[in-house]
Symmetry: C2
Subunit: 267 residues, 2 copies
């Protein structure tokens, strides 16, 4: 049976809300997924929520009932509360009827089976969680294996990243590592490292992508560092015909992922 | 000579800050562009700032000096202030050394020369200004003509849209209209209306795009309304292989734009 919480100052609500901040996510090993659709995708992908919090007015929703039953069957905690209190957890401009609390799954490079997919994404010092979430969503769409985050990249378990991923955080493998460890791991097996770069004339459509391809995306402002570019098997450029000298990193990644995917569809 | 403002309660600063809100942008016919890079792109594209506000510690910056000279030569107002006061205008998490105030240029459909480009983007009730800005940035990159916003779309002159466009707002034609007026205008001349849709099996790479192509993108949640889909010459789908059932709208738009652009490059 769901617990009912009616107090704004309830400690459990405060604790859940604290997971919006990275330091509390790290301390608790938990993160938030907001919204019926994303929580449903998570559960479908096999993730087990440790806690579900829903608004009392959503009680009759059939999908909610199913999620609540699944959470309780797995020993999770279910809380019914007011929409007002729920809005203390979610943001006012993004009101949701359901919030799930999930355990952070920290994967190491060695846990990756590189043969499990024809394409993987590697991001270096990616700063914007919205970009990361969008990259995860596109990665899922083409059937990529996952995203490897290097160096000072943003937190994939932030509310913004989870939201922009539309649930793909739960279907993609996500690894946090650094450049040195990644290069060492990569060269222990097959893999074509393809750097997205403005420092080449090599058209991205002129390259034949071999599986597994590792698409290497740089930081939003500065792109890949020179030594990271030097470590790539090939650098590719997306041609541009306008005044702009660069694309959004999630857009670049999508254009490249669809080229790799389209080549595979044709083969 | 720049005016120097040292008071936090200065009326000009308050007025500039008010342009973060749509009602004040509409009342004043002015909007904000934040950051040296975007203001420089704007000026290069021929836009004339009515006002520039910069942080005193940026005074020696060569690009700033050039922009200040151009603004003053065009009769604009230049203000030097503290970084603290400038942060009252820009957001704390996006500190910039320069803010430009530009006149809103409201374009009508009839002002569009459809032959000026091989591709245009049409958005129906696009809600997220970040998505709109990203679409503008990609549109510029492929050499599109501009973006036509229909129905309840977000404001292209919002700070978020301008920022995400990285200056492309100033190089692309931007029109705000509605469905009925757009369809009437479209059919008065040549144009292939291509709807991005999940309600078709027509692969986006199986279509030959004729210039001018009008790429029709629907709302983030619900896609194009059925009667809008029915008005299209063709519906196309971007294939997906994962668990996700849709892509981010700016990502979809980019994948489609690059297909149209790539076909043109090959021709």
């Amino acid at each position: 049976m769901p617990r009912i919480i009616t107090s704004h100052s309830n400690e459990t609500i405060k604790r859940i809300r604290s997971l919006r901040e990275k330091k509390f996510r790290q301390r608790e090993g938990l993160f938030l997924a907001e919204g019926m659709r994303i929580v449903a995708e998570a559960v479908e992908a096999g993730a087990v929520p440790q806690m579900l919090v829903y608004a009392e007015d959503a009680r009759g929703h059939p999908l909610l009932a199913k999620l609540v039953a699944q959470c309780e069957a797995a020993g999770g905690d279910v809380i019914e509360t007011s929409r007002d209190i729920l809005h203390k957890i979610t943001e006012k401009d993004n009101p949701q009827a359901l919030v799930g609390v999930f355990p952070v799954e920290a994967l190491a490079l060695d846990s990756i089976d590189r043969a499990a997919s024809f394409v993987w994404i590697v991001c270096q010092s990616l700063k914007d969680p919205g970009n990361l979430g969008t990259i995860l969503r596109t990665a899922d769409a083409v059937g990529a294996g996952g995203v490897i985050l290097l160096d000072q990249s943003c937190d994939p378990f932030s509310v913004e990243a989870v939201r922009a991923s539309m649930g793909a955080l739960f279907t993609q493998r996500v690894v946090q590592s650094d450049g040195a460890a990644f290069f060492e791991w990569l060269r222990q097996g097959p893999g074509m490292l393809v750097g997205a770069s403005l420092n080449t004339d090599h058209d991205y459509q002129a390259v034949s992508y071999d599986a597994p391809t590792f698409l290497f995306m740089g930081n939003e402002q500065s792109g890949l560092p020179p030594d990271y570019e030097a470590a790539c098997d090939v650098l590719v450029k997306i041609p541009m015909a306008g005044k702009a000298d660069s694309l959004n990193v999630a857009v670049s990644c999508a254009v490249l992922l669809y080229e790799v995917f389209n080549q595979r569809r044709r083969a």
